[in-house]
Symmetry: C2
Subunit: 379 residues, 2 copies
Amino acid sequence: MPTAFPEDSVGLVTPQQMHFSEPLELACGRSLADYTLVYETYGELNAARSNAVLVCHALSGHHHAAGYHSTEDRKPGWWDSCIGPGKAVDTRKFFVVSLNNLGGCNGSTGPASHNPQTGQPFGADFPVVTVEDWVHSQARLADVLGIQQWAAVIGGSLGGMQAMQWAISYPQRIRHCLAIASAPALSAQNIAFNEVARQAILTDPQFHGGHFMAQGVIPKRGLALARMVGHITYLSDDSMGEKFGHRRKNEQLNFDVHSVEFQVESYLRYQGQEFSERFDANTYLLMTKALDYFDPASKHDGDLTRTLADVEADFCLISFTTDWRFSPARSREIADALIAAQKNVCYLEIDAPQGHDAFLMPIPRYIQAFSSYMNRITF
Amino acid sequence: MPTAFPEDSVGLVTPQQMHFSEPLELACGRSLADYTLVYETYGELNAARSNAVLVCHALSGHHHAAGYHSTEDRKPGWWDSCIGPGKAVDTRKFFVVSLNNLGGCNGSTGPASHNPQTGQPFGADFPVVTVEDWVHSQARLADVLGIQQWAAVIGGSLGGMQAMQWAISYPQRIRHCLAIASAPALSAQNIAFNEVARQAILTDPQFHGGHFMAQGVIPKRGLALARMVGHITYLSDDSMGEKFGHRRKNEQLNFDVHSVEFQVESYLRYQGQEFSERFDANTYLLMTKALDYFDPASKHDGDLTRTLADVEADFCLISFTTDWRFSPARSREIADALIAAQKNVCYLEIDAPQGHDAFLMPIPRYIQAFSSYMNRITF
C-alpha cells in the first residue's frame, strides 16, 4: 500500500546488488579477489546521466538511506529527513545512489561474508579497508551504473570524509562535495574513544580473535560497550541534560552498583543492547579504523591546502555548534584550506543543541541551507 | 636522607590508622559494624586546635596527598603541588589531614577488607557509600583528632563534593569550603561515562559478581577499559591534541585492527593497564556510584539555594576553562546558589588547557589564587 507512506517519501525501495569480479587492490597492501556491493537508488537518472548524487554512510550506516522496505517498516531509511521528493536531496531532480560500504554488515562483502579461500566467514581475516578504498569501490559502481561524474557526493561524519576523498581522488568525477559534520582527520580524543570501543570488543572473550561466527557466539558485551561510548559522543552534553538530566529511574534509589538508578543509564544500556544484536563486531572494528586512518593531508606533509590543490569540485561544509565529536573548528580547517587553495567553498555553522547527531535531524535552518545549495546545482 | 627531598616538601610521612568500633549507619540503610580509616597529617595542630584543614580525595585518590613514604619514591603524594611549606596549603601554618575514604583500596576499610560476617573479603558485599557517609566518617575522625572545627575543607572533583557536603551537613564545623573543579551533581553525560565504566567492569568474566578475590583473579580488562574512558574525560580535547595529535606510533602503518597505530592509543593502553594493576574494581564501582548519587539539592526539590541556606562556611570555588567533565558552568551554578542564599563566595575561573586534570597541576594563576585565599584565613 504505497498510500501508507508520507507524500514526501520515496516510498517502497528494493536494495540491489552489484557483483565485481575484478580484484580490488587495497591501501593495506592486500586485495579482494571479488566482491559485492549492495545499494539503493532513488529518483531517475536523466538521459545525460548528469543528475546523479552519491550518498555515503557513516560508521553504523548502510545503503538504506531513504524510503521503506515494506509497509510494515516502523522507520524509513536513516537519512529520510533529507532524501525524497521536495526534500534537500530532491528525488524529483536527482538520481540518488546509496550503498553499503565494503567491510559492512548490511549486504556488501564484509567480515560476515564467505571467504572463498577458507570456506568460512572472513571474520578477522577481512582486510582493513580505508576511505580511499571505499571511494575506489564506489567509482567502480559508478562506472557500471554509467555515471561518469557525480553532480554531488554527500555525506555526514565518516560519510563526509568519503565525499572529501572523492574530490581528491577523482577531481573530474565530482562537481559538488558536501561534507557535513566532518573533519579532515580524527583528533587524538576521537582516536582515543575509538580505541576504547575497539578494546571493549577485542577483550570480550566471545570475540574469539574475530572468528566468533565459527564458534556460534556474538561478542555482545563488547559491542554494546563500544556503542555506549560512541553514543555519548554523538550527543551533546546539553541535549543529554535536556533529555535525562539527573532524573532517577524510580523515586526510590536502590543503592547498589548493578542497579539502573538514573534514566540516562537505562537509555544507554538499551542503545548498547539493541546495537549489539544488529551490528557485526568485526565491521565495527573496521569502521573505527577507517576513521582513524583517514588523513589525506599526510601524503603532503600534513598540508591540507596542498592536498586540496587539484580538487575541482565546489564544496559545501556544514557543522553544528554543539558537535564536540567533529566540532565546527574541524570544518573550518577544511574551509580555510580550500580558501587558501582558491577553491569555491560555502561554509555554514548551524546553531543546534543535538551534538554530532544533528546532521541526521530535521533542523529547519540546516535543511533550508542544504536544500538551497542542492537546488542551485545545475546540469 | 631527608636532604633528598625538595625544600618545599613535607618530606617523609607515615600513614596512620584509626579504628572505629561504633557502627556507622549508611545512606543505603546498611551499617558498618566497625571500620578503619587510614590517614596522613602534615604540619602541626596548634594549641587552639583551630588550624586544621581536611583534604578530600577524588575518584582514584587516597590519603597520600603530600610528601614521600620513602627516599626511594619516584613521585610524591597526589597533591604535592599544593600542600607543603610555602605552598597553597602551607604546612607551616596549617595542620593538614588527608584520609583514604571508606570503600577505598588504599588501607581504609573497603571491598578488599576482611568481612567479619563471612571470613572472606567483602568484595561485592561492601555497602554502597555516599558522599554524606564519607563526611560522617570524616567527622568521627575529626572528633578523635580533637578537631571541633576545620579551618577549611578542601577538595577537587569528587573531593570538592565532600567539601560542599561538609558545609551542608556540619555548618558549624567548617569555616572555609574550597571546592575545585567540582559540580553540584553529575550531568547526564557524567553519569553516562560512569555507567560505561561500570559496565566494562561488571561484564568482565573475571569480575565474578564482585567476588574475584575469592577466585584469585582480577578483572583487569574491565578496569583498564573503565580507566581509559575516565582518563579521556580528565583531559581536554586540546591538551590531547597538543600531546598526541594524529601522530603515528611508527611511520609505517600496520593496517590491522589490533595494532597500536597512533601515539594516543599507546598512551591510553598504558594508562589502563597500569591502573588495573593497582586499583580495586569494587572500589571503582563504589566511587562512581558515590559520584552519581551526590545531589544535595534533591532533598530540597532540586533547589540548590535552599540546600545551602544554613551553611556558615565561606566558599572558594575554582574552575578551569577547558574542563568539560565539571565545566565552569557547574561551578557557577554553585556560586549563583550561594549568592542567592546570601553567603560569602569567591569564584575563580582559570584559563588552563589541561581539562579536568588542571586541578592537580601547578598552574601559576591557580596556585596563586588558591594560596591567596588560604593565606587570608585567620584563626
